[in-house]
């Protein structure tokens, strides 16, 4: 069972565990200022992650990196930094993880900027 290993904002009414739920009406919300980040380990049944889908709203700029959960001395490997449109709806972005080194055991999603003071991630799915 995957659990989120790191999040920079906590609101007990919109917990970070919401990003692991397929229900898009529940989300993890940031609580002011940027950047905010969340790290999700690769699921046990995924030996080599191919890509990650992120469903988000209110996010202007997002960065995706591969990180090592246990070996924190490893520098994160950048996968992509992407600027999104200001659509007032949930946007699903796909990022290719196939080039990550073997030591990367989790993906870190960083919201670098938003269209307002708050942003949300509805779901993160590594496949």
């Amino acid at each position: 069972m995957t659990t989120v290993v790191m999040a920079t904002a906590t609101d007990e009414n919109n917990p970070v565990s919401n990003v692991l739920s397929a229900d898009l009406s529940s989300a993890w919300t940031t609580t002011g200022l940027y950047p905010h980040a969340v790290a999700v380990p690769f699921p046990d049944d995924v030996a080599a992650p191919a890509f990650v889908r992120v469903w988000c709203s209110g996010v202007r700029e997002v960065a995706v990196e591969g990180v090592a959960v246990t070996d924190t001395a490893r520098e994160p490997v950048e996968v992509a930094v992407r600027t999104l449109d200001s659509l007032r709806e949930i946007q699903m972005e796909v990022f290719d993880l196939s080039s990550l080194p073997a030591w990367a055991t989790a993906v870190r999603i960083t919201i670098l900027d938003g269209f307002g003071p708050f942003a949300a991630i509805h779901r993160i799915a590594v496949e």
Partner: protein, 221 residues
């Protein structure tokens, strides 16, 4: 304690009292700068200068941004104010106050700090019609860029100088209403009035957060 964090930018012409307002709020009234010294850079209080405003209604939120201010300010001075926290209630708003220079030739610098993610405080001086026109220009500039923040307030400072008044309260109120911001007339040395204005701003910010949460949930349907 549960907390929201708020980037709060003070904008307005020279000598309207932005720095005084920031320092009085930050210090809880202990520090009113009686000698004018022009703000030449964007000043951001150090992290230990955080002012925490605690609200009665619980929003149940807290945050630790990955690096809340690193890399955002080209120069800053670390001040020595007191962190003031009110006790008990379940929500709080921590303000990061950006005090911008008011001189027109430094407007470009100040402009970089305002965007839709911050909370804006327009400050003008009731004894100066120019200072009122100046923030009207600012508002037009920001609206044209779609950068006018959703949460903010208009503060008419030096309201104690009634014999020198040049801007009617009605004008200020009308301007604030056009932006959907609350309007406060006060004098910066009056710490309780300054506190009340910031508390109102904190409530508006917390309410904006709750609206955002509700809207976010509704997006999926």
């Amino acid at each position: 304690m549960a907390s929201l964090r708020c980037k709060c930018v003070l904008v307005g012409g020279p000598r309207v009292g932005k720095t005084a307002l920031a320092q009085v709020f930050q210090s809880g009234g202990g520090l009113f700068p009686s000698n004018y010294s022009m703000t030449s850079a964007v000043e951001l209080p150090g992290v230990d200068a955080l002012r925490t405003v605690v609200l009665e209604d619980g929003s149940g939120a807290s945050s630790t941004p990955a690096s809340p201010v690193a890399g955002q300010v080209p120069e800053h001075k670390v001040k020595t104010p007191l962190e003031k926290a009110l006790e008990l209630p379940s929500a709080s708003v921590q303000f990061f106050l950006y005090d911008t220079p008011g001189q027109p030739y430094l407007r470009e610098l100040a402009r970089e700090y305002v965007d839709a993610t911050c909370v804006l405080i327009f400050v003008y001086d009731v004894t100066s019609i120019d200072s009122f026109e100046w923030i009207r220009e600012w508002a037009e500039l920001l609206s044209a860029d779609n950068a006018l923040p959703a949460v903010g307030m208009v503060v008419a400072n030096k309201a104690d100088k009634s014999d020198l008044r040049a801007v009617d309260a009605d004008l200020g109120l009308h301007f604030a209403k056009s932006l959907r911001y609350p309007f406060f007339e006060l004098a910066a040395p009056d710490a309780s009035a300054v506190d009340a204005a910031f508390k109102h701003l904190a409530e508006a910010y917390a309410s904006h957060y709750q609206d955002f949460v509700s809207a976010t949930r509704a997006l999926a349907s």
